[in-house]
């Protein structure tokens, strides 16, 4: 199916717009990228490092290294692919400095984070607190999705779980694209409304 708007930047291109702002000296733009990718990078590193506190430390370190190297990033690959490599190298260097080996594998040849995430079989490691918080968040999100009106639930599920474009969702739901956009937004807001009380207790970063 043809894209809805040929001039619409893909998520990769949206990242590139933020990267360009960060390369212009705007640290806030880089923080927005960190907000977006922090958990994916942490999940990646949890394949190599077992201790949750270490995972967070190395995740932070990887983002700092990425920021320092941002002037080198030319957009030839997706930002996440570039970040993924930096995170892997940061973890390997961290483990090597401690005379340790990655707990999963010596070498991760695939540079596509999505592929690795989907293929990874080793479970994540959390402290009991983060495990509980994770479970609460996941449960709340799932309950919130289940409680959505059917048209919102279908739209957000097709988008988030199936990765369909708005145009594809519009075709499947037999409604205008603008309606799809509105339904997905309303679904996100409805889920966020149910998440907020929980985030104020367990999961919300004070800065955000």
């Amino acid at each position: 199916m043809e894209p809805l708007n040929p001039s619409a930047p893909s998520p990769r291109e949206t990242d590139q717009l933020l990267v360009e702002r960060a390369q212009s000296g705007d640290k806030r733009a880089f923080e927005l990228l960190v907000v977006k990718y922090q958990r994916r990078i942490a999940r990646l590193l949890s394949r190599l490092i077992r201790d949750p506190a270490e995972i967070e430390d190395v995740t932070q370190e990887a983002f700092i290294k990425a920021y320092r190297a941002l002037g080198n990033f030319r957009g030839e690959s997706a930002f996440y692919t570039w970040l993924y490599r930096i995170a892997l190298n940061t973890a390997k260097n961290y483990l090597a400095a401690q005379g340790r080996r990655p707990s999963l594998i010596g070498d991760v040849a695939d540079e596509d984070g999505e592929t690795l995430d989907a293929a990874a079989l080793v479970p994540d490691h959390h402290t009991p607190e983060t495990e509980l918080a994770n479970r609460q968040i996941v449960t709340t999100v799932n309950e919130a999705v289940s409680a959505l009106p059917e048209e919102l639930r279908t739209a957000i599920t097709l988008r988030e779980m199936e990765g369909l474009s708005y145009e594809e969702i519009a075709a499947m739901m037999d409604c205008p694209i603008g309606t799809v956009r509105s339904r997905i937004f309303r679904a996100r807001e409805a889920i966020a409304t149910r998440l907020r009380p929980l985030l104020s207790v367990v999961g919300r970063d004070k800065r955000w």
Binding site: P9, P11, E13, S46, V145, G203
Partner: protein, 172 residues
């Protein structure tokens, strides 16, 4: 629909790659200036990550990261270096023009030499203008090409070290 709601709906579409580039740039600018939109950005990505099974990090992760980032020198890859891409794009028509010009000269000379009898040198002398014009274009193109090549070779974005400007750490 309020302006805020519109901005959030557009932010939602931006996350899905469903905004036109001009709109996307505008919404990103709004996002950077609006704490409310930043909260939405944070919450919606948390939702996405939760649905995809990505782990949560501790509540202090971002504030800890922001503190570290604020102590970092600002990295700047100046926009003025970006025209290198434009320059590279310009090289294509320049080199193409040079090639066409060269081919034109060669063909013209070949045709001229084969068509004009050696015994008629005055005819060649009387019609030199096309060759002169073509040769002039060729020289200009080659000069421009070489200038662009030198510029590209000296440009850090084309393989050299990037320009990193270390400024004072920002205070937030």
């Amino acid at each position: 629909m309020s302006a805020k709601l519109t901005a959030e709906e557009q932010l939602s579409a931006l996350m899905d790659g469903e905004l036109a580039e001009a709109e996307a740039r505008r919404v990103l600018a709004e996002l950077q200036a609006s704490p409310a939109l930043q909260v939405s950005w944070y919450e919606w990505h948390m939702q996405q990550d939760s649905q995809h099974g990505h782990p949560l990090l501790s509540p202090g992760f971002m504030s800890g990261f922001s503190a570290r980032l604020s102590a970092e020198p600002v990295v700047v890859a100046p926009q003025r270096l970006r025209p290198a891409r434009t320059g590279r794009r310009l090289l294509v028509p320049l080199t193409a023009a040079a090639s066409v010009a060269f081919l034109g000269v060669a063909l013209w000379q070949g045709l001229y030499r084969s068509a004009v009898p050696v015994q008629a040198p005055l005819a060649a002398v009387s019609q030199p203008a096309p060759a002169t014009v073509v040769a002039q274009v060729d020289v200009d193109a080659v000069r421009a090409y070489l200038a662009a090549h030198r510029e590209a070779a000296n440009n850090p974005l084309n393989g050299g070290e990037p320009l990193q400007v270390a400024l004072q750490p920002e205070s937030k």
